[in-house]
Symmetry: C2
Subunit: 424 residues, 2 copies
């Protein structure tokens, strides 16, 4: 890694040398906006509206039902799944695109637990994003499995690392790779290996990892790979609001994966109109119902950009940006009560920085008014996300200066920044 | 009802007097196309592309995360749900828009069965659309409930109509209002009443009914109403390919409906980030994950058209069109081996006609080449759907003449009309 950026001049120099600089123009962002919320909703690729318009006017409006074949609608969940797979270290035929992350979690957790029907415990993170916890509880209730909550930091110990006895009580382990609040990156490799040593299947939620850092799902645990994974495509993947999520099923489980959402598109013979379900071969068994095609096809424009981007460069720039923020906070904001909740070590950090501070909600609102969009997470976190494909180092430096000015002047204490609803 | 149309001149006269004629120009259909597949994918409203483009360029591209509040994204599933509710006789606050029909069936069947935890039978239609049957089997397996298949024609008898004893063994009944293959409209009123008399909850799948004929969910069984209902919005509602489905939960069940897909958006306090699920008040408990907004907002354009259309007029025109087809088939096609699978009685007919004929697949393909788009359903059905908002009587008369010409000349027996995949 290069040195941490500690001045506007160094930020400008980093931009001049940025190998990802060419990608910035591929996103539509209004002038003056510093968008640090790409971990919630990614920016729009400038090519997206034309693709969406074609999907509407030509494919839907003119070709109508013929589009299922003529315009590749039927294959879209598999084709786009493969495009996502390339960003998370999954060989072709292991990722299906569709539905929401909540739905894909329901599939993955059920599928993972059913691999181990004699075990009655699902391990998850008590700090996990709410939907992960709610779906875990619902699946646990349906399958008669106890849901046990621990921190991913304690997972390797809990699973009894090193043992290859395979006689543990835990059927499946479900964590997010990156904590949605603090931005902490957990040890995906060690936890996967420990889970397998315990005889448990592992389900990774990559909502805050896919597109932000390299993930190597197939390579985990010496090539055994993860068992299941899910993620959304509207954060770092820039697929658009509510863009369809995705499900990874490792190839070795595809012949037996027993998924509960048995929609007709996942049937082995979807057009034969059988009375009883028989899952399709391969990843197609992850299909459920008819996918929302306008939303799904918007994703293509975003994935075109990733095809031309090096995820190692994305990761390097992400760390440079978060290094900058953490250093700035330590050097300039500590006296204002700002404390980083995000780990200092690179290997423990995703692509966001969470700053704990007094009146964090109001600070987030004042920043938005000043053109710096991050978000607030209860109770006291200012969450700043960094999408390296469309941010500059200078923007991030400027955002930190803006934050310091707001906090020093107390601008955020103005009553107009009163509490209102926010969205993940 | 007026007399059945038996000539091109009568068809032209019916068009001249058509009170729905003004709506035809609101749909984009290529010149020369006679589109009889609106029961699979509805035509595109001409206003849809502009609405979709605004959702992309302005709402996503410019307003970004602020759109959740500023552009009403958060409220869209409830707002659009209410718009759909008006078309199926549901008062506001009982319909939520989102996900696919398969997912909503999973919610509805689970919710219905959990209303009656002491009963162990789910009654469904062995001829129901495959996804309905597959999801029923999956839910039955998860909840330990036997799935029993009968024809809706036998449902009232099976439920023991007239008894108000409420001591039956059937927990829930799940049928489609209109058979997707034959177009038969079942007796929604009688089955609902019989189910309630038996003490069972009823789940209606309105995929082939919503937007095609008036449905009065709240009024069924002397005002008790249906218990749950689901449907898609890309058929007669013209919401676009894979447009989000919807779920109706009768208001009287909303305080207790126990749904398994416990996504964070259905939580009572979605932004408080609790560890455990507590459902929201009202229909919001039917929310799951983040909805596909580009697809969802396209629906608005289609619903604008319905706001200005009278569903009783839609129904009257639908019956005139299907009367025409049935009469034509009886008068001109019987000697060619064509037999109607769709009932002759109006009260038993949805908005499609299914014709059984030899080489039905090839006939469907030859019709497409001749500009008449219907579809094939195994093993021998030519399925013709009638969307009264954008079809003319003259088009339908012409389509029948085209079909007769094809069958009499054997044009469909050309080898280029070989079997390939088709989509519902």
């Amino acid at each position: 890694m290069t040195d941490v950026i500690t001045s506007a001049a160094e930020a400008a120099a980093a931009d001049a040398a940025d190998p990802l600089a060419e990608h910035r123009a591929k996103f539509a962002l209004r002038a003056g906006l510093v968008y640090l919320d790409g971990n919630s909703l990614g920016a729009m690729p400038v090519d997206a509206p034309a693709l969406i318009d074609d999907a509407a006017r030509r494919q839907w409006g003119q070709d109508l039902i013929e589009s299922w074949n003529a315009n590749g609608w039927w294959d879209a969940p598999v084709r786009i799944g493969d495009r996502i797979g390339r960003l998370i270290g999954a060989k072709a035929g292991q990722v299906i695109c569709g539905d929401s992350t909540s739905i894909q979690l329901f599939q993955a957790l059920s599928g993972a637990l059913r691999l181990n029907p004699d075990r009655r415990v699902l391990l998850t993170d008590g700090g996990n994003f709410p939907t992960d916890q709610y779906i875990a509880d619902s699946v646990g209730r349906l399958l008669g499995v106890e849901v046990r909550r621990i921190s991913p930091a304690d997972a390797v110990t809990a699973l009894g690392s090193g043992s290859r006895s395979g006689i543990g009580e835990i059927a499946a382990v479900s964590f997010s790779a990156v904590d949605y609040r603090t931005g902490e990156l957990w040890d995906v490799e060690a936890i996967t290996a420990a889970a397998h040593a315990h005889g448990a299947a592992v389900v990774w939620d990559l909502a805050h990892a896919a597109g932000a850092l390299p993930v190597h799902l197939d390579d985990l645990d010496a090539g055994a790979g993860a068992d299941f994974a899910v993620g959304c495509s509207y954060k770092y993947l820039n697929g658009g609001p509510g863009a369809p999520a995705w499900l990874y099923i490792n190839a070795r489980h595809q012949a037996t994966a027993d998924l509960p959402l048995t929609g007709w598109q996942g049937h082995a013979e979807p057009f034969a109109l059988h009375q009883h379900y028989a899952p399709a071969e391969g990843i197609a068994r992850g299909r459920i119902g008819t996918p929302p095609l306008l939303s799904m096809l918007a994703l293509d424009a975003a994935l075109d950009i990733f095809d031309a981007a090096d995820l190692e460069q994305v990761r390097a720039k992400s760390l440079a940006l978060t290094d900058l923020v953490l250093r700035y906070a330590a050097d300039h904001l500590a006296d204002l009560g700002v404390v980083a909740a995000t780990p200092a070590e690179h290997h423990r950090r995703g692509s966001q920085v969470a700053l704990r501070l007094p009146r964090a909600y109001e600070a987030a609102q004042a920043l938005i008014e000043a053109g710096v969009v991050g978000d607030f997470r209860a109770p006291d976190i200012l969450r700043l996300g960094f999408a390296p494909l469309y941010l500059t180092h200078a923007q991030v430096w400027g955002a930190m200066e803006t934050l310091e000015t707001i906090l020093r002047t107390g601008a955020h204490l103005d009553p107009r920044f009163a509490i209102r609803a926010a969205v993940t």
